[in-house]
């Protein structure tokens, strides 16, 4: 068996997310179908993690095992010819048998784009969360800082449809960069892993701090409470990008 690693970018707007779903078209399904056409093998494409419906990726990483030795260059072109243009495979390479896109991941980086301003920019409408009001960036930075480290993030995790019971709720956030960008703010998260909807739940809560509805010290209290009901609603999926996965 050969183990192939894929680097994939996608505009998540028109998809039901990464993972194969009973309803809607998933990125994983598209890739598996294209690989079946090329290799005649019914493979499972393992992603570094699920992205929700509407979430985007610049550098999703995945792998699949196949008995055939594939010409990498022509396979890349053929697969891209079989899938829609809002999903592009950027690279394919052969990796060690024990490489698993999900379990081998050491760090994953997500960016969340907040778009600020009196008028929405039509070109950002599908790729950011537009806020009409001002954001106190210093309060937001202070609140974000409180989440950096190794914690039980239960307060920021939704129950998954596959069940969260038994899942270890402890994760390590290495960094949350709060960066001003053109017409907005980018929240750049780097962590060893994320619970279900964790980035969007944290972002929704940080925005409430930046909007003056909560204060930065509330973040520590939220972590301690381990109660999802106390944090804010999830930020919308369209502002979220999986940037890259490190192994």
């Amino acid at each position: 068996m050969y183990n192939y690693k894929l680097l994939v970018s996608y505009d998540g707007t028109n998809y039901s997310g990464w993972q194969v779903q009973p309803n809607g078209i998933s990125i994983q399904h598209l890739l598996q179908k294209a690989i079946l056409t090329i290799t005649k093998e019914d493979v499972i494409v393992v992603g570094s993690g699920r992205t929700d419906a509407g979430v985007h990726a610049l550098g999703q990483t995945a792998n699949f095992k196949c008995s055939k030795e594939l010409d990498l260059h022509s396979t890349l072109r053929s697969l891209n010819g079989l899938i829609p243009h809002d999903v592009r495979i950027r690279n394919i390479e052969v990796v060690d048998q024990d490489f698993n896109a999900r379990f081998s991941a050491k760090s994953k980086t997500y960016h969340y784009h907040l778009h600020l301003g009196a008028t929405e920019n039509p070109f950002k409408r599908l790729y950011s969360w537009h806020l009409y009001h001002k954001i106190d960036i210093d309060a937001l930075k202070e609140a974000a800082e409180a989440l950096v480290g190794t914690f039980d993030f239960t307060s920021f995790s939704n129950q998954s449809d596959r069940g969260s019971a038994g899942i270890n709720p402890v994760r390590t956030i290495f960094n949350i960069d709060v960066v001003e960008e053109d017409e907005g703010i980018c929240l750049a998260y780097s962590a060893n892993g994320y619970l279900y909807k964790m980035v969007r739940n944290i972002t929704g809560t940080l925005v409430e701090v930046g909007s003056g509805k909560r204060s930065p010290p509330d973040m520590q209290k939220l972590l301690n409470a381990k109660d999802r009901r106390l944090a804010a609603a999830a930020a919308p999926p369209r502002g979220l990008f999986l940037m890259h996965v490190d192994y």
Copy 2:
């Protein structure tokens, strides 16, 4: 009568262009319908120029005349509430009676984005022309330079559906900046006006120079020939943005 000037941004992907058309939804139609709802007056919204189906605008400028004195802030909000999110009115102001968005324009700036690279970026697919091959940027710059000045641009103008006969084919291009950007090249055109499809026809021809299919001195010959059949096919609309109009 009050004369109102609008600054408008739109993602042209889903529209049949600026101008009201028998088939398809135009930006002009959307704005006129929203203004009718707010003011109860059936106005004509005059744009600085038509943009074709699929062409985008960051700073399209338009004006309309109306007998009512409108509260500018609330009108802006109300109009934006009546139109889709891929079209946004960024500003509304009262201007002199003799201001006409089309005829008062002194200079218009368009950007055309070429996206280069072995793999398409899904986030640029609707906003650029993706080329798989390399572009000789020096040849492209040299060819662009030959078009700066006051010339008869017949070779780069399509017959318009409203007829080009009798239209003066002389325009002045003030500048064509050829700027390297992330994963591509931006062609930034500034001129006192443009003939029908002129930017896209010039861009298509410049890309043939950059691709080695034509040489830079061909541009002078093309201008002299005054024959549209000798220039290249138009570049696709999705790479083109009307950036701003100066008065």
